[in-house]
């Protein structure tokens, strides 16, 4: 059993901070790495030790395999925690760790590789009797082959990349003509994104829900199901809000889904923490989708209801120890919801926003957990993703969790960059959300920028504040220059629709 005293975290942002906290509670040494623009990042400040790893672009730092391994050896790390993203699902990295004598905190390299092939994962699930979405059993070679599958399963259908992920190489086709159009686009995208243009075909589920099962598997043959998470609220395959339990599942479906997840995990000899993803259709039937061989962004909702520290379990498993709770995971208590606080502007088509965090006041109180990766004065770099914080609320039931999350969002001050706090307040008060009627199409069906318009009371307060501020800062109220330049620049803010550089994505 390897003793893991010094753990290097091959990641940054909130997840690196999250891992540091578990290491600290375990009395292990936390070792951060940082790119040049991350010198003042929170994970560098909080870690026991921190070492530079290269320039800003990920390929030259956090994704520079040799440099990460070399640094881990140089600083005498015993193990590497990959977090999520970066090297978390990269079998080459997991293998490189093993070769360097470092413990990779995650599944075995061959499991990561095997489950990275979506068709192989699907086949494994089917082998142990877990329902999969009807479709092709293998990659389809040509448009004609796809048409043959379509005749069997019917339209609408989906083209998906075998090496897929993040929605790339994915296309829905409603009929034969659409299939013909979609085929070259999807395979081209897949080739560009993964260097592998193979596609497969699945029936398209209308208004699908995304429900995932958290599993933990130790080296002693135990596989535990720690409840599910509903992650249906998404925008372009980017999850925005997750919750547990899923409002879509009754107790027997939940048990069947958990049991299915464990069966898949056993079939592939899974080790460490993982997530088995399912699609749930409008009739409440679930279908295996894929396995994420890592800690998920949204793991805290599971921690809130079970009391289990998933990162601590990952470390225990990697060191060869059994699961802390033996054969019986704690029964989930209550409900939890997570709102991802993202640097983006919901009023401008969710365009990402970078800049300096001018002011923060994080919410607190009963049942509230806020995992932030930023602090006041911190400059959000443009190189990495735009997740600023994960705000989680626990409640004795879904309604208490929802109300607490709403209260925490109302308390949340985060200024200097655009963020989606107001968006989450809209979401949490939407009647369909309150009723738990979710699907991955929720945002496109219900959201418009006008939904965020503030009421007349706020407009009056804005008027008062603006006039007051103009008085306090008298200098700002100046007459325009003769050449008109000060006037022109002022107009930049006066109407959003008149921005000189319009943005499309």
């Amino acid at each position: 059993m390897p003793r893991l005293a010094r753990v290097l975290i091959a990641n940054r942002g909130e997840i690196a901070v999250r891992i540091i906290r578990s290491l600290r509670a375990l009395d292990l040494t936390s070792i951060a790495i940082f790119s040049e623009p991350d010198r003042a990042a929170l994970h560098v400040l909080l870690a026991d030790e921190a070492y530079p790893i290269g320039p800003g672009p990920s390929r030259e730092s956090y994704l520079h395999l040799e440099r990460v391994i070399e640094t881990a050896l140089w600083v005498k790390a015993d193990a590497i925690h990959p977090g999520y993203g970066f090297f978390a699902e990269n079998p080459t990295f997991a293998r490189a760790c093993a070769e360097a004598g470092l413990t990779f905190i995650g599944p075995r390299a061959e499991t990561i590789a095997g489950l990275g092939d979506k068709l192989a994962a699907r086949a494994a699930a089917a082998r142990v009797g877990v329902p999969v979405i009807p479709g092709s059993e293998s990659a389809v070679e040509s448009l004609d082959a796809a048409r043959a599958v379509a005749r069997r399963i019917g339209f609408p259908l989906m083209l998906k990349a075998v090496a897929g992920g993040g929605g790339k190489g994915m296309r829905v086709a409603a009929d034969d003509a659409a299939l013909a159009t979609a085929w070259p686009l999807a395979s081209g995208e897949a080739r560009a994104a993964f260097g592998d243009d193979r596609l497969y075909v699945e029936r398209a589920i209308a208004r699908p829900r995304h429900v995932e099962a958290q599993i933990l598997a130790d080296a002693h043959g135990r596989v535990a199901f720690l409840g599910e998470r509903e992650c249906s609220v998404q925008r372009r395959h980017q999850k925005l809000l997750e919750e547990t339990p899923s409002p879509a599942l009754d107790a027997s479906t939940r048990a069947a889904l958990g049991e299915s997840a464990c069966r898949v995990a056993r079939e592939v000899g899974y080790l460490n923490a993982g997530t088995v993803e399912f699609i749930v259709d409008e009739d409440g039937r679930f279908y295996f989708l894929e396995v994420n061989t890592r800690l998920q962004v949204e793991h805290p909702v599971t921690e809130m209801v079970t009391g289990v520290d998933l990162v601590a379990e990952q470390i225990a498993i990697a060191s060869g120890a059994p699961l802390s709770f033996g054969d019986s995971p704690p029964a989930p208590r209550g409900a939890a919801m997570e709102a991802r606080i993202i640097a983006e502007d919901p009023l401008r088509d969710f365009m990402p926003s970078a800049g300096r965090i001018e002011r923060v006041r994080f919410p607190q109180g009963p049942g509230v957990r806020n995992d932030a990766g930023v602090y006041r004065g911190y400059e959000v770099p443009v190189f990495y993703d735009s997740l600023l914080s994960k705000l989680v609320a626990w409640g004795a039931d879904r309604e208490q969790a929802r109300h607490r999350l709403l209260g925490a969002l109302r308390e949340f001050v985060l200024e200097g960059v655009h963020q989606n706090i107001a968006f989450h307040r809209w979401l949490l008060t939407h009647p369909e959300f309150i009723a738990g009627r979710l699907s991955t199409r929720f945002i496109e069906e219900h959201f418009t920028a006008a939904a965020l318009d503030a009421g007349p009371e706020a407009t009056e307060v804005a008027l008062l504040a603006a006039a007051l501020h103009a008085r306090e800062e008298r200098l700002r109220v100046t007459l325009p220059q003769a050449n008109g330049s000060s006037v022109r620049s002022a107009w930049r803010w006066s109407d959003r629709r008149r921005q000189p550089g319009r943005v499309r994505r």
Binding site: L347, M351, A458, L464, A466, S494, P500, G501
Partner: protein, 189 residues
């Protein structure tokens, strides 16, 4: 010191001289008169009166306003000559000007469109593609450049169209928010 009742300032004579501003908010222009007396302010406009207790917080350009008892925390940040007011996450772009500016600006505004357009970076990032070069004719809505930031690519397009008169950046260049990328001169159509 009880709440409510007649506003303190109305009774006294200590209020400073009123200030007049021309405010543009949510597409509407309004002329307002502001009175401030100690921690109390009131605003008169279009025959209405709004009032509040106010206190500047020690934590930035932030005010606590109590409007009829209701507590609001309001941030006011200054951009290029304009203000942005943030109330519980909702943002309000506001212009506050000297009344004289109104006259001058209305003259200027009429002349503006024919002056052509500039395409600026909406956020800091990397130029991954430039789709035009000087002399190119572009249509309204045509993509002219692609900026990448935070793993997302944003296509920038021309608003009115015309002839590209100047390209100020190169591909792979890092740009700051608001940085001018290129200029487009209008053509008679």
């Amino acid at each position: 010191m009880t709440s409510g009742g007649p506003p303190r300032a109305a009774s006294g004579t200590r209020a400073e001289t009123a200030m007049r501003f021309w405010v543009t908010l949510e597409g509407r222009d309004t002329e307002v008169e502001l009175h401030v007396d100690q921690g109390r302010l009131w605003l008169e406009f279009e025959g209405r009166r709004l009032e509040a207790d106010f206190h500047r917080l020690p934590d930035g350009e932030v005010y606590s306003l109590l409007v009829g008892g209701r507590s609001h925390e309001v941030r006011v940040s200054a951009g290029d000559g304009a203000l942005e007011v943030t109330i519980e996450g909702a943002r309000f772009p506001v212009e506050v000007r000297h009344p004289l500016e109104k006259v001058l600006l209305s003259v200027k505004r009429a002349a503006d469109p024919s002056a052509g357009e500039t395409v600026t970076a909406p956020m800091p990032g990397l130029i991954v593609a430039l789709r035009v070069q000087p002399g190119d004719r572009v249509e309204a809505g045509q993509a002219v450049a692609v900026v990448e930031a935070m793993k997302m690519q944003n296509e920038l397009s021309a608003r009115y169209g015309g002839v590209v008169s100047e390209v100020l950046v190169a591909e792979r260049a890092s740009v700051a928010a608001g940085e001018v990328l290129l200029r487009i001169r209008p053509v008679a159509s």
